[in-house]
Symmetry: C2
Subunit: 348 residues, 2 copies
DNA sequence: AATATTGACGCAAACGTTTGCATAAATGGA
DNA sequence: TCCATTTATGCAAACGTTTGCGTCAATATT
């Protein structure tokens, strides 16, 4: 491929020096003479020398490469997380290589193979929805390659994790509904095979219990997935109830938006009749009318934290830090979909 | 790093064979005996052998690595494009490594250095907004590394390009407005230092000329950028005109949405009073009410096309394909923001 | 039976860097 | 003047694979 790339040997010949001296000069090694260093660097830029990091990596047994496995790059949450990882990696001199699992177990296994073969020094992963066991990730541990999960993490093997406190966030979201006067609070739940959605449901229930509101199973909807369309199904179910809920906490923003839009068509007033809270703070939540109260998922910060943690583990070779869990603080962002007071005021 | 990784030598010792035989066996070389191949493969999986691709890459002078430089990963357009690239790369056995320029020229230069040092076999790039010259990309050509730009491309150096026909798309969008009866058609333009936005403005003008509608410079707004906030500025300007436009073609969806939302607040009816067309088909364009008519930018397809083209150039070592330009067909997606007929019907 | 052919494998160099150790020249101190 | 120290550089091996060429035995050909 390289159209006759300049190597360290070429520099050595031109300057009548050995390759070792060149190599050391380029690294500012203390035992190399000032003038030699200058000469070498000058010639290097003149001839357009570029270190062949493949060779360097082989020799040093170091790649400065971080592997990332995500379900899909084009999901907003993940692209923001990756963006955070890239930033931290760049500043620390690491490169990133990205694989998509497309939420498929087989593809995720293939991804781990690829990363292992490419000698990544650490891995950041978010489990595919279809993944039920994490044996394929265990291979990283066998090779002493640090592993950090984010969002959808693996509990079966020892690994570091960066998560948000879904329970607490859901709890807070639900209590917020209570605080504005809701008593019949519904929930659109995510797949109960995934930890984060279990926590969100539990947080919701806990908030009700704390406020002595009985849990009404008719008000909890379990759609097939958390897509806009599935959200509409739930919204229709809610609308058909003899008595409407007066607040709904949705496990993500898509379903929250579908509820808002269907209810508006049915002339159900938001937030006066029903207040809505979503989860994730997707860009669309500021656009929808009324703007959606939601939990900010801090994707960028999660990515940053995951990368920082990973790099720390890569560079601290004493494996004392067996594993670590970072919990990112979430924010409840209050917007119009739960702002009853203001609207009442303006109605006066 | 590797916790005593199994190498080809280990396999060779165990089987009393030479490393060359092992290597060939693992590649199913025809001169290796059937039984030997079986034995080798069996032991390899037993011992958990994994090819060290760094060493392999060095020897073969091949990395199977594609470098990608994008302004930002977390912009929907780019994350979809990357997703398309990754898919094609994965199927062809290539890995991708991603750099963000953050729309900064300096960072983009640094990115090219990184990719060169890592011996990428090809590069896909989208220019940073701040980038005014592409000399740093010329270095790839010096090293015979194929280069494909997408969306924001570079005309100064010979390179392949994947673009949409912005002129044609803008022309079609504007003609669509004409076809539903608009005669005072406004435009929110992007930065005229960037080719794609020039083309969109030209397409708009051409459509007006073709339909014998005079170009009214009061109806063309040049905001600082194409953010939601800047869009609001333009929307206010339009609203202050003594005579409102009856249609607006916006250079992206964000500004289109800001216009819709401001006009709604001002009780300007969309599409009856003013019809709106955006550009990009961002997810939010289906959520906004009324849903936004827009041009689908085919980001995923652009990414696929760019990766396919690049891989073809990598593998066709006869550099006959000096450069190639692919123009992706766009779609005009008609939604409520320009559907006057239907609304009129339903009003009857 | 002697030679040609085929099949199966090993030798050793190469890819471009890095690095422990040795060496040579220059300087200092006695 | 001689030895010890410092300074600056070179030698050569190593990282793990791949690959052109050579070798050797077994089989086929005459």
């Amino acid at each position: 491929m390289a159209g006759s790339r300049v190597t360290i040997k070429d520099l050595a010949e031109k300057l009548n020096l050995s390759t070792s001296t060149i190599s050391r000069a380029l690294h500012n090694h203390p035992t190399i003479g000032k003038k030699t260093i200058q000469d070498v660097r000058k010639l290097a830029t003149e001839m357009g020398y570029l270190r062949n990091s493949v060779a360097s990596n082989l020799r040093r047994n170091k790649t400065n490469l971080i592997g990332i496995i995500v379900p899909r790059i084009d999901i907003n949450f993940h692209s923001r997380a990756i963006s955070g990882m890239e930033e931290v990696a760049y500043k620390s001199g690491y490169n990133i290589t990205i694989c998509q699992s497309n939420d498929s177990y087989e593809r995720e296994v293939a991804n781990t193979q690829t990363l292992l073969a490419n000698m990544v020094e650490g891995v950041i992963g978010c489990l595919a929805l279809k993944t039920k066991n994490c044996n394929h990730f265990a291979r990283f541990k066998e090779h002493d390659i640090p592993l950090v999960f984010y969002d959808r993490v693996c509990y079966e093997i020892e690994s570091s994790k960066v998560i948000i406190d879904d329970f607490e966030a859901a709890f807070r979201a639900t209590e917020h509904l209570v605080s504005i006067g809701c008593r019949r609070i519904g929930h659109i739940a995510g797949s109960q095979t995934t930890g984060i959605f279990v926590s969100r449901l539990e947080g919701y229930k806990a908030a009700l219990r704390k406020n002595k509101i009985p849990i009404n199973h008719n008000l909890i909807c379990f759609p097939e997935d958390l897509s806009y369309e599935s959200g509409l199904e739930c919204a229709r179910k809610f609308a058909r109830l003899t008595k409407l809920p007066d607040g709904i906490f949705c496990a993500n923003d898509y379903t929250a938006i579908s509820v808002i839009q269907l209810f508006k068509k049915l002339n159900i007033k938001i937030p006066q009749d029903v207040a809505i809270v979503g989860f994730s703070n997707y860009p669309v939540s500021t656009i929808i009318e009324p703007a959606l109260t939601t939990i900010d998922d801090r994707a960028f910060e999660m990515g940053q934290a995951a990368a920082k943690l990973l790099i720390r583990q890569i560079e601290d070779k004493n494996l004392n830090i067996a594993s670590e869990t970072i919990i990112i603080k979430t924010d409840l962002i209050i917007r119009e979909s739960t702002q009853r007071q203001m609207l009442i005021k303006s109605e006066i």
